[in-house]
Amino acid sequence: MKLVKFTKKGIYCIPGKFYLDPWLPVDYAIISHGHADHARNGMKYYLCQTDSKAILKHRLGADIHIESLNYNEPKMINGVQVSFFPAGHVIGSAQIRLEYKGFVVVFTGDYKVKNDYLTVPFEPVKCHEFITESTFGLPIYNWLPEAQLQQQMQDWVIKNQSHNRTSVFLGYSLGKAQRIMKMMEHVDQIYVHSAIHNLNTAIEGSGISLPKTELLTYDFKKEDLQNKIVIMPPGLLGSKLLKKIPNAATAICSGWMQIRGNRRWQAVDAGFAVSDHADWNGLLSAVKATEAEKVYVTHGSQATFSKYLNEIGIPSAEVKTEYGTEEEEKEVVTDKNVSS
């Protein structure tokens, strides 16, 4: 059965007459999560998970027509049953499950299998067809357990403090920033850039509690920041604001930091492989748990991952989409949107 097709505007549900994370304007868009390459401007109607609603309004405008559903709360659209399941990627991120005449398709958007103790953990959903991302679809990407990663990052902050240095983490405003806040909670005072602060306010507005932070204003007092923790979007690497922070030690937080060459490419003091995407084993376990007959692989290492799935006996094909092929690009674009 053909329930979805891949079109120039996005992933289209044929009987439902709606799109999943479309990249061109359409009448009805179901959105997996609030990142800029998945939630775009110009749709007549939006449907998203409850916790994503405030984020979408914050990013796309308060006047958008938007409706939301809780996880596992079905809605019928033109005979197709639509429901959201936790994707564990960022707050409010959802896998979109479509069921029509007993045939089930699941689209992951972006997802992370590992629990970050902040977002609702990923939940595997059985389906006939599974449309999965593949950002880190190579066996060299295997993340450390959260506690071990947190320990490394905390040790780094403490080492910086012993040299009277301020620890600056660079991480994407939606997702990474909140996760770093969670990891640094109770370590020391946390200052966040306004792009992150505004998003935090929107998230807290929908009843989710986040670790306590201070807004980093442009006229901060140097002595206030000494030895503290600062979080800002990656686009600000090399910015005047960052240069103004006295004796700053900077660290990029991104899955790409797993590779030495990537850590060394940027002139920073550290790189931590903190990712909101599934690692290699995460992708494989997610695919296997769906028991899908056919797996479509979108953005990332789609050629490699889909070839490997075919070799281990899971029929798979790669799909070209407009979702970010590189996390960093996505970050730059979104931060421009936020600051404008």
Partner: protein, 530 residues
Amino acid sequence: MKHFSDLISAIEITNKTNAKIDALVDYLNIAPNKDKLWLITLFTGKRPPRPVKTTLMRQWCMEITGYPEWLFLESYSSVGDLGETIALMLPDPTHHIEKSLSDWMTELLALKPKSDADKKEYVRHAWSGLEMQERLIFNKLIGGSFRIGVSKKTLVNALSKYSGIDANQLMHSIIGNWDINSISFEDLLHGEHINYDNSKPYPFCLAYALEKELPELGTPDAWQVEYKWDGIRGQIVKRNGEIFIWSRGEELVTSQFPELVASMESLKEDFVIDGEILALKDNAVLLFNDLQKRLNRKNVSKKMLEEIPVGFYGYDVLEWNGEDVRSEPLSYRRQLLEELLTSELKHDNVVISEIIEFQEWNELDAIRNSAREFNSEGLMLKQKNSPYHTGRKKGDWWKWKVDPLTIDAVMIYAQKGSGRRSSKYTDYTFAVKKDDGLVTVAKAYSGLTDIEITEISRFVNKNAIEKFGPVRTVKPELVFEIAFEGIALSNRHKSGVALRFPRIVRWRRDKTVAEIDTIEQVKLLITNPN
């Protein structure tokens, strides 16, 4: 191995030499002396022979993980480093091994003669007992370099900062003959095994690029003009029968050029001379590319010595039979040099740099423009009464290089770099127009900013035609100005020409692929330089 692992992490993250030196000093302050000796051994290319072949390590990694070879290679091309690829792919450790650097090295030395089965058991056991970063270090200890930008000079500067001992003396000490099992760290640092008085070099005198019109220099006969050569600036020190060759980077490179040492041995005098190390065959200077093949080899093979013989063009005399003559005028030092290299020496691989005869300044233009024909890169102008300065001083010495040749070409292939550059597409292949299509003319990297490289990498990701393997074929769209030092007809190249030292001058965002040069235009440069 924790301290050593921390040291590597600290060094690899920074591109600032001072930060690397500080990390090395921190390590020297806490590490056991035996480990420090190993550090010096590993960072000076004195590493023992590789005990386990890379092909075996690859094979064992695939056996453990069960991944097919194509997936291993795809991962390798993404990481750009074999030891790291293996370290990243292996499953989590099942136990933990803690050993010092010297213990690991001793065990690896003992592993060399063992059977493949024994090696496999040892390596697999180590892999399953080490964390990712430690596994990476372990793989690096087995073979391959660390590729973290620590030169001998950086190491020596760190040792000097740690111990307070003169850096050049330390350079001689660590390069000198010593055996890790029979010398203490303290004795090595203090140079108990060497006589530094015999090797001590002088700082090089360096020239600025000419920044005025020739007549402004005064009368022509106050100047000595020579060709400028593009090799390795070197200082040959001969004292008490010992010969040392120092490079301008203050590294001792004596063992790389045995033929120079042999030629010098016949001389009776003691001296220190300055000059250029060049690939020299049948009295003609070869390209720097050729010389490069001779550099940084542990052993220079007989074949290499025959294929690319090395010679020395003498420029100046700094010390003469124990006496420092640097403050004497150039004209006097030149006499000493002539005495040494033209009357006394009978080897045609060590020759004196020729003085160019001229009467009027305007004669030099044509001479400079023809310099490229015999692989010289321009002229050197030196005041005849100048002393041999320490470092770079303006006024007495000028370099006057030939202008590079340039063409506009389009990028057609891109490849990821290695080391620090392994995450980006940094190596490009360029083409010019030929008939209705394109033909490859040059491969080049560098010359672009990190921001431009990031932007180009994004273009490559979006416009790649073939996705497997390390090389991406891209849509011919980005135009670059390519400069090079020389051009010659070549049968070995599809385009029919070979460019010397091609490099990217700038990204021509203002030009489209329709505006690039044709191969005919490129060939015109052969007969009409500039």
